[in-house]
């Protein structure tokens, strides 16, 4: 089979993969979307508004400017994690992008809310790719 045949076929294949993946991601996002900014930490549900009443907001400096949010260090303890440094933390988004972060970085991080990114974590010493947005879950995994 010549190039004249297989190049359009390859193009069709990647288009089909792209369309199916787009539909899949949209469906997953819709399914995972929390209307009240509910976050699952270590298997327990917390509303961001409630957390804001229980904890004081702090400011951190990042390479994207100053950010204000709830200290992740306190949220993790509040969620009943007894030995925070004995675990690593998986931050899962609704789409479902996810990143795993060690306690060393989690304790410097904050949880924020904005119209653009919904719930988002910021870690001052980590690249932006680790700053998961549309966050729905923080999983605690034993090291």
């Amino acid at each position: 089979m010549g190039k004249e045949k297989f190049i359009p076929i390859f193009a069709m294949i990647v288009l089909i993969i792209g369309i199916i993946s787009t539909l899949y991601v949209s469906a997953i996002e819709k399914n995972n979307k929390s209307p009240d900014n509910i976050l699952l930490i270590n298997g327990k549900e917390y509303s961001f508004d409630e957390l804001c009443n229980d904890f004081q907001l702090i400011k951190i400096n990042t390479d994207d400017g100053e950010k204000t949010g709830l200290p992740l260090e306190k949220l993790i303890s509040y969620a009943g994690v007894n030995c925070p440094s004995c675990n690593e933390y998986n931050f899962v988004a609704s789409d479902p992008y996810q990143k795993t972060v060690s306690w060393k970085d989690v304790k410097n991080g904050i949880l924020t809310y904005s119209e653009e990114y919904n719930l988002r974590v910021y870690f001052p010493n980590l690249p932006h790719a680790i700053w998961v947005y549309n966050l729905i879950k923080i999983e605690v995994n034993k090291l």
Partner: protein, 216 residues
């Protein structure tokens, strides 16, 4: 001056334009809340790569352009992991070389619109998704958080979906770029070298100035 020097000047020019578009135009698009990566790949990156291949007809040139663009990307103040995005750009140049390895340098296979759109779709999709995957592997390793295969697999649908926008854009931009082939572009050496080097320097100056302004 011989063909090699002419080619090197071309690599510097098109690599600088690629790096400049990624840093300056890409950041502007991102600030506007648009999907900058996909738009950049479909509107600028793939057209620049195809145009350079068409004009110079030298395999390996786009890999060199990837190194120049990647080096320029190191001065991007708007991303957290400069080295990761720089290496991802170099990987995109390498992917382009792989995809176009079997295509003749005069693009004679791409004679009709279907073929031109198809190669645009396939190249843009593979290069964008490939670069995305590469960044997702590299960034956690460079950041010291470690690479987790389960994170990459969970993110795979999002990455495969993200390739759709650049593929659709390139299905239009690549036939447009290939139509330029009908124009006879021949520039004398006396104009070629000052122009290529001048534009390249301008790209570097603008990127480094924005970097200095942001970090100052």
């Amino acid at each position: 001056m011989n063909d090699k020097t002419r080619l090197l000047a071309g690599i510097l020019l098109f690599g600088s334009l690629w790096g400049f578009s990624e840093v300056i135009i890409g950041s502007t698009i991102a600030d506007a809340g648009l999907p900058s990566g996909g738009l950049m790949t479909g509107l600028f990156v793939i057209p620049i790569l195809v145009l350079s291949r068409m004009l110079y007809r030298k395999p390996g040139m786009q890999l060199g352009m990837g190194f120049v663009a990647g080096a320029l990307r190191l001065f991007n103040p708007f991303v957290g992991c400069q080295i990761c995005s720089a290496i991802a750009i170099m990987a995109e140049g390498a992917l382009f070389e792989l995809i176009f390895y079997g295509i003749s340098s005069d693009f004679r296979e791409l004679k009709n619109l279907t073929m031109q759109s198809s190669i645009g779709i396939f190249a843009a999709y593979v290069i964008f998704v490939g670069g995305y995957i590469f960044t997702q592997i590299l960034t956690p390793i460079v950041a010291g958080t470690g690479f987790y295969l389960e994170n990459l697999l969970a993110t795979m649908p999002k990455m495969l979906a993200a390739g759709l926008i650049p593929a659709l854009i390139a299905s239009i931009t690549i036939p447009l770029v290939i139509s330029v082939k009908k124009l006879d572009i021949s520039i004398k050496n006396t104009i070629y070298y000052p122009t290529t080097i001048g534009i390249s320097i301008l790209c570097w100056v603008l990127v480094i100035s924005s970097w200095l302004m942001f970090t100052a």
